[in-house]
């Protein structure tokens, strides 16, 4: 057979895509690395044409010793963790609910996915102005209806607000994946457990949840990747104040607000390292769950 031949032909044909993707990844990565070792302040007259000064690890040291660094890592982890917990728990419950037969199932399922199609900027603005506004927001009206003082969400409960908004956006994704997983559960297993004397909660705990284990890991993995880089939601709501300055947002501020590209790049490299630590950590857990 021509396996050897066809294999090299296949390689040749895949090459353009692979090279393109590699370039896509490698060029920005090398540029980031390059800038992170340079002094690059465009406002002070630094530019690529005139050549940049090599500063060694100065940018790295400055970024990490800045008083905003650790709080930003904390904020990142808090927001990512919070959203994961909320989306997974509510996702499982919603998936179970949507799996029950009821009238209008098709429409409800589409409605549940809807938030996923709303652009982050738009949804964050809607939440901020329509729901969470301390004077005219829906929540404010609700709070007043019950005779309590409306919460000024963006300043007093800023992190919670961001978590709420982002969770709202990602809940459909989690629900969808978990719903397909739940639908693949063999109903005879549940019946067997019922005959074995397992009440509803035990059936959920011992049969449904383990069955969902793999889907939950996938949800956590994919969401973490995207949640580490949320930006628009913070930009249009708190603008990074009140403890919502994540690592991504800090880098943005360093590059755009302070016009310090070298410092921002060093922050970018830290972000890559943080992402990889988390990825490694997750892969350990996930790996155990996936190869079954």
């Amino acid at each position: 057979m021509a396996t050897r031949h066809s294999r090299s032909a296949a390689r040749l044909m895949m090459a353009p895509a692979v090279i393109l993707l590699m370039g896509w990844m490698l060029v920005p990565l090398t540029m980031t690395l390059y800038f992170s070792f340079k002094r690059y302040l465009p406002m002070r007259g630094d530019s690529l044409e005139r050549g940049l000064d090599w500063v060694g690890f100065e940018n790295y040291v400055r970024f990490i010793t800045s008083s905003s660094f650790w709080p930003s890592v904390q904020a990142t982890l808090l927001i990512v963790g919070g959203v994961l917990v909320i989306t997974v728990i509510l996702g499982v419950l919603l998936a179970i609910l949507l799996d029950q037969p009821f009238w209008g199932q098709g429409v409800v399922r589409i409605l549940v996915i809807a938030p996923f199609f709303v652009m982050p900027t738009v949804s964050a603005l809607v939440w901020k102005n329509m729901m969470m506004d301390p004077v005219n927001g829906m929540f404010a009206h609700l709070w007043r209806f019950f005779g309590t003082q409306p919460v000024s969400w963006m300043s007093d409960a800023s992190v919670q607000s961001i978590i709420l908004i982002v969770s709202w956006q990602w809940l459909p994704f989690a629900t969808l994946i978990l719903l397909t997983a739940i639908q693949s559960l063999d109903s005879e297993q549940l019946e067997a457990a019922e005959m074995d004397g397992a009440p509803v909660l035990a059936r959920f705990w011992f049969i449904v949840l383990p069955h969902l284990g793999r889907a939950i890991t996938i949800v956590i993995l994919i969401q973490t990747i995207f949640l580490l880089s949320i930006f628009a939601e913070i930009f249009v709501t708190t603008g990074g104040s009140f403890g919502t300055r994540t690592l991504t947002y800090l880098i943005f501020q360093r590059v755009v607000d302070s016009q310090n590209i070298g410092l921002g790049s060093a922050g970018g490299v830290y972000a890559i390292i943080l992402a990889n630590i988390i990825a490694l950590f997750l892969m350990r857990i996930v790996g155990k769950n996936l190869d079954r």
């Binding site: 005879e188 019946e191 067997a192 019922e194 074995d196 009440p199």
Partner: protein
């Protein structure tokens, strides 16, 4: 104890009546087989007894107590599913121990009972494996193990062997019969395979479209099928059913004669015909003979090897003692 009584039990799914009102008594310790063609309601009936479906009407009594509204777990019955329904993420040990764990037994007692069940079912070496790492027969045994540890008052089997290959099926059939002889617990067994029914049952219940066609021991059904349906369903190969003039000569609308109750002669007999396809099984040979005046080929069993060939002319004579006669409603005439 495991005496199960169905009193006018009926089941409808929406408009469709799957089981019309039906009475049945299953004695303690009996091995009862529900048999019938696909879609006749065997599984539904079993699930009604298990409590996995609610009856539309009627009453189910277990050991004399009304169990119609009792949830499945409280009926004291154990079920073995066609798909085995093992819990894929638990080891064999945990699978078998699951009902005990749900019943709140302590760990030592669980382990003791799991060991005992594993001993009986030759599963001791596999206790730490996952179901995915077992063969079909082993999975089947785990499913049975999970049922026996509960010490139920009756076992319910829904086509437990249909996913196994022929050789394994024969083996497991014997194991289940052996288990029944040892435990002496009531067993209800659903199958559409009449050989399984004949070999395992104390009592066979033949179902058609949710109706009970006949209840009796395997030999009763074989010797005296109550109607044409049972006559055609029980026995392998099928009974020859002949209508028309030939039946009229025996004062019946239809007569039935089993392949093993026909004698063959080259010179003389009642029906004249030519040999068609023959099936050699070694111990027996089955001939399909095209007879004059009979539209369907008649199947004949002859012991051992016989030198008859395609196209040979022969005479067939039915054994009058084993001739079954049916009237125009398909019911047996004594």
């Amino acid at each position: 104890m495991g005496r199960i009584t169905l009193d006018k039990v009926a089941k409808s799914f929406g408009e469709v009546e799957v089981i019309p009102p039906l009475d049945l008594t299953i004695e303690d310790g009996e091995f009862v087989v529900f048999v019938g063609p696909s879609g006749c309601g065997k599984s539904t009936l079993l699930r009604l007894i298990a409590g996995l479906e609610d009856v539309s009407a009627g009453e189910i009594r277990i050991d004399g107590k009304d169990a119609t509204a009792v949830p499945p777990a409280k009926r004291g019955l154990a079920m073995v599913f066609q798909s085995y329904a093992l819990y894929p993420h638990m080891s064999v040990r945990k699978n078998i121990a699951f009902p005990l764990r749900m019943a709140g037994l302590d760990a030592a007692e669980q382990e003791r009972r799991v060991r005992a069940a594993a001993d009986v079912l030759n599963l001791t070496d596999y206790l730490d494996r996952r179901p995915g790492q077992l063969s079909g027969g082993q999975r089947q045994r785990v499913a049975i193990g999970r049922a026996i540890v509960r010490e139920p008052s009756a076992f319910l089997f829904d086509e437990p062997l249909s996913n196994l290959d022929a050789a394994l099926r024969v083996g497991m059939r014997l194991e289940i019969s052996e288990l029944h002889n040892r435990l002496k617990t009531t067993m209800i067994y659903v199958t559409h395979d009449q050989v399984e029914a004949m070999t395992m049952a104390d009592k066979i219940v033949v179902l058609r479209a949710g109706n009970i066609e006949q209840v009796g021991s395997p030999l009763e059904l074989y010797r005296a099928p109550r109607n044409l349906f049972v006559a055609g369903f029980i026995g392998s190969p099928k009974m020859n059913l002949i209508g028309g003039d030939i039946a009229a000569r025996h004062h019946a609308t239809t007569i039935g004669i089993r392949p093993e109750h026909i004698s063959v002669s080259p010179e003389a007999g009642e029906w004249h015909g030519t040999v068609g396809v023959s099936e050699h099984l070694g111990s027996d040979t089955f001939f399909h003979v095209a007879c004059e005046g009979i539209p369907e080929p008649v199947t004949v069993r002859v012991g051992g090897e016989v030198s008859l060939h395609h196209g040979d002319a022969i005479w067939l004579t039915p054994d009058p003692d084993h001739l079954h006669r049916f009237d125009k409603d398909g019911l047996r005439v004594a």
